[in-house]
């Protein structure tokens, strides 16, 4: 067993885990961060997407021990940690009602955070390309694309990026 100090959403948390434990498992079961979802365990669907030092990664196959020195961001880390307000990306998803079952949304939102950090004014083609590794079975794609465009406008107007 390993004692790991993980830096997640701006805080450091100690977890005792097995060397083969995935980051997804540690987030959900040791740190009680349930927003990152298990979809396939195969890097095929994107439901478990998190940011490792700002870069989107699949938490289902990333070992917790690999990221002990990195900064991990989950969907819970996007909301304001002090007042609980949602991030403009989350607000944009709600304003567009960009969800049906909602199981894929947390992974999408995290990936969109990385996209907009990198490219504050993406075209619809850029957004679709960035999200191509995230599957949605309900067919909510167009609302999600509109939500990302709305979020980009909101963040641009706020001058955050």
């Amino acid at each position: 067993m390993l004692e790991l100090d993980l830096h997640v959403n701006g805080r450091t948390a100690r977890a005792t885990c097995h060397q083969d434990d995935t980051l997804l498992h540690v987030l959900r079961n040791h740190l009680d961060l349930k927003g990152t979802r298990f979809g396939c365990g195969l890097e095929q669907c994107g439901a478990c997407t998190v940011l490792i030092d700002g870069v989107p990664r699949y938490a289902c196959t990333t070992l917790a021990s690999e990221v002990a020195s990195a900064h991990v961001t989950t969907v819970e880390g996007l909301s304001n940690q002090t007042d609980g307000h949602m991030h403009p990306i989350q607000e944009a998803f709600l304003e567009e009602q960009a969800g049906q079952c909602g199981y894929c949304l947390a992974g999408m939102i995290v990936r969109v955070k990385a996209l907009l950090d990198d490219n504050p004014a993406p075209s619809r083609t850029d957004i679709a390309a960035a999200l191509d590794g995230n599957l949605c079975r309900c067919g909510t794609h167009l609302r999600i694309l509109r939500a990302v465009e709305r979020a980009a406008r909101a963040l641009g107007a706020r001058g955050d990026i």
Binding site: G35, Q97, G102, I144
Partner: protein
């Protein structure tokens, strides 16, 4: 005097008013529904209906959905019936409660009921405050006695909340953190994985527990009953490693083998089947028309393919079993568990919690039996079972393959006069409970369940394989020949729309084939055959949106196609036009849809469902096929079962007809069939050659272009 309108069927099962409505202590109203949220927004729509009928703000309504302890039994959340049936029932219950409260207050104030009105739960007398509200009058009003007859309902012209787009109540949690059954916390929670019996006929020969234990890397408990084997641990990573290692360390005997072609729809021809004829007798005279056309269309086995694997929690405490599930009906689940476990249904409670979208009968109910079987062996703990991704693909019941043969006699203008839809299909509903299916793990238990008597839903509930098999067009004689094939290589059950998608695909492709022979525009040809004005209207309107009259000539590689149906020939109408390009494969360019769903409770919610149905229908038409070979299902992940992705999604425009004078019609399944059909017709228009078998893959397109 005319008889009052009958109550909905839900009141026969749940007559007592307090199953539907109760007044909370905190100025809320608890509204019960047996229908559950599966991503379709139904709980929000029903809350709107309750708020409307009670003259309350939406935020005063708290929904209790899928709860066997206090809520009504409304069977399953299926067939786009939730607004039509549960919405209507909640509306009646709320109107009845409001009337009883008004009667009670009129008595107390010694005034006429017509002097009283309600404003956000406050009672007014001749427009002035009375100091009374729902919550003050409710404790002295009998809200338990049965609803006897139809109360006066608010006229739709007075609606303020119904008909207005409101935000879904469940979405904020889903974009921010824990929201699903999968995320539930309980004290003493243990994680479990099932080491699944690979086939109902398979018998466990040996299991190397020591090797699985070593691979797990931590303390593990095995639970075994007959051929049902599960591993349990407080640490989810341990059971996950055990489950990954298990298949190679378990030996099963009695595995069946299948024909290599058993996964193709054409394999269904000539198999052992139950035969039914529905509609007009077989053609007589021998030549009922001038021309005869016959064509065969098909759809292979398809998967629900939920984004998250099935999950359930169960705990056994003091002889009472509690189950949390993301299935589509908690009362039927409770009964199916009672039947399988030999328990009294009164000793089981079942609660619905959010899950990934299911689009029909997937593994959610089965996971509940898995969890219950383990919980019975380990009382005092909460058992959380989650399936692995490959379990979800391999063991969910599939949407049946279907082969549809159309034989059409026409007049001299190629207008159909005698129409036969002949269908070969597996069964479309095997839900546990009243439809006669088993929960998956039942076949692994020492006492095997009796063989199933396979039956589709009857025609008066929309049929199964025969759903939408009768064209909506004016055809003097039509019939359905249905062959329900009883021995399949896989388990099948309800998937969004049942037979509607393949039937609408076949019928609407045939309409284009007839129009082509008549040298008529496919839209004009349809309009001439339709006396249903609502169907006519959506066709005309979608043609305007898509600028249909400017479509290119056939065979240019760019195609426009149209498809239309009324779901179940009695629910919402949808007309779809698809524009696409075909090079080696299909590239969707734009999709337009006009739908008529009567009075729409939440227009944005309805649009969301219709858009989703369009994209899912397009995905099925273009890509989806479960791979089955002699060893059974080989689709076990998203690589072997691809679906439409972000870069393949075209712009989609959806318009709802303003038809609030008509009763509400369910929209959840109306757009899939017309979309698949419009794609079939657009591909034929683009190529000048037709592909009649879904999915419309690169190989099939190449084959269609080869000279005969």
């Amino acid at each position: 005097m005319t008889d009052p309108a009958p109550l909905t069927p839900s009141f026969a099962t749940n007559p007592s008013l307090d199953r539907w409505i109760r007044f909370g202590s905190d100025r809320t109203v608890l509204i019960g529904t047996g229908k559950v949220e599966i991503g379709q927004g139904i709980v929000t729509a029903i809350a709107q209906i309750a708020a409307e009928e009670l003259d309350l703000d939406l935020d005063a309504v708290q929904m209790v959905s899928g709860d066997t302890t206090t809520g009504p039994n409304e069977l399953y959340t299926t067939s786009s019936l939730s607004v039509e049936v549960s919405g209507a029932s909640v509306r009646i219950a709320c109107a009845e409660a409001r009337a009883r409260l008004l009667d009670r207050l009129a008595q107390r104030l010694n005034c006429g009921r017509d002097e009283l009105s309600v404003d956000n739960g406050e009672f007014l007398q001749n427009g002035r405050p009375t100091g009374y509200d729902y919550w003050r009058v409710a404790p002295e009003t009998d809200l338990t006695t049965p609803v006897q007859q139809m109360p006066d309902l608010k006229p739709p012209t007075a609606y303020r909340t119904v008909g207005r787009s409101v935000a879904r109540l469940d979405l904020p949690a889903k974009v921010s953190g824990a929201a699903f059954l999968h995320d539930m916390q309980r004290p003493n929670l243990l994680h479990a994985r099932v080491l699944r019996q690979p086939d109902p006929a398979a018998e466990l020969e040996s299991v190397d527990q020591a090797a699985i234990q070593r691979a797990a890397g931590g303390a593990l408990r095995f639970v075994r009953t007959g051929d049902f084997v599960a591993v349990v641990s407080a640490d989810e990573a341990i059971v996950e490693r055990a489950a990954r290692a298990a298949p190679e360390r378990m030996r099963w005997r009695g595995m069946p083998s299948h024909a290599d072609t058993a996964g193709e729809a054409a394999w269904l021809y000539g198999r052992k089947a139950k035969h039914h004829t529905i509609g007009a007798p077989s053609t007589s005279p021998e030549h009922p028309g001038q021309n005869r056309i016959e064509a065969h269309y098909s759809r292979p086995y398809v998967a629900h393919a939920s984004m998250g694997p099935s999950c359930a929690l169960a705990e056994m405490r003091d002889g009472h079993l509690t189950v949390w599930s993301h299935g589509q009906g908690m009362h039927p689940l409770r009964q199916a568990l009672a039947n399988t476990l030999g328990m009294d249904a009164g000793d089981i409670s079942a609660f619905h919690r959010h899950g990934p979208g299911c689009y029909g009968h997937n593994g959610a109910d089965d996971a509940s039996l898995d969890a219950a079987l383990i919980a019975l062996e380990m009382p005092g703990h909460t058992i959380r079972v989650m399936w692995r991704r490959e379990d979800e693909f391999l063991y969910e019941p599939l949407g049946s393959a279907m082969q549809v043969r159309l034989q059409v006699w026409t007049d001299e203008h190629w207008r159909p006069v005698d129409w036969t839809t002949e269908i070969w299909s597996g069964v479309h509903v095997q839900r546990p409970g009243r439809s006669g299916g088993n929960l998956l793990a039942a076949t692994s238990l020492p006492e095997k369940p009796a063989p199933l008597d396979l039956n589709d839903p009857p025609e008066d509930r929309g049929g199964g394989a025969t759903r939408n098999a009768v064209p909506l067009y004016d055809i003097p004689a039509h019939r359905i020949e249905h062959h329900l094939v009883t021995e399949l290589p896989v388990r099948t059950s309800a998937l969004r729309g049942l037979g509607a998608l393949p039937n609408v695909f076949a019928i609407e492709c045939m309409l284009d084939e007839l129009a082509e022979r008549a040298e008529a525009d496919p839209l004009a040809f349809r309009l001439e055959l339709l006396s249903d004005e609502r169907a006519q209207h959506i066709l005309r309107r979608v043609a305007v949106l898509a600028n249909w009259s400017a479509r290119p000539a056939p065979g240019t590689g760019t195609g426009y196609g149209i498809g239309m149906a009324q779901y179940k020939n009695r629910s919402a109408y949808a007309a779809v036009i698809v524009a696409l390009n075909v090079d080696q494969q299909v590239r969707l360019e734009h999709i337009w849809c006009v739908a008529d769903a009567g009075l729409v409770v939440n227009p944005d919610g309805a649009r969301n469902q219709i858009e989703g149905g369009i994209i899912q229908g397009a995905s099925m038409a273009l890509k989806e096929q479960v791979q089955i070979d002699r060893n059974g299902n080989q689709s076990r992940d998203w690589d072997s079962y691809p679906i439409l992705r972000f870069t393949e999604i075209p712009p989609v425009d959806v318009e709802l007809v303003d038809a609030k004078q008509h009763r509400s019609l369910g929209v959840g399944e109306c757009s899939l069939g017309p979309t698949a059909a419009a794609i079939g017709n657009a591909v034929a228009h683009a190529l000048g050659a037709r592909v009649r078998d879904m999915p419309l893959t690169r190989d099939r397109i190449a084959a269609a272009l080869l000279p005969d």
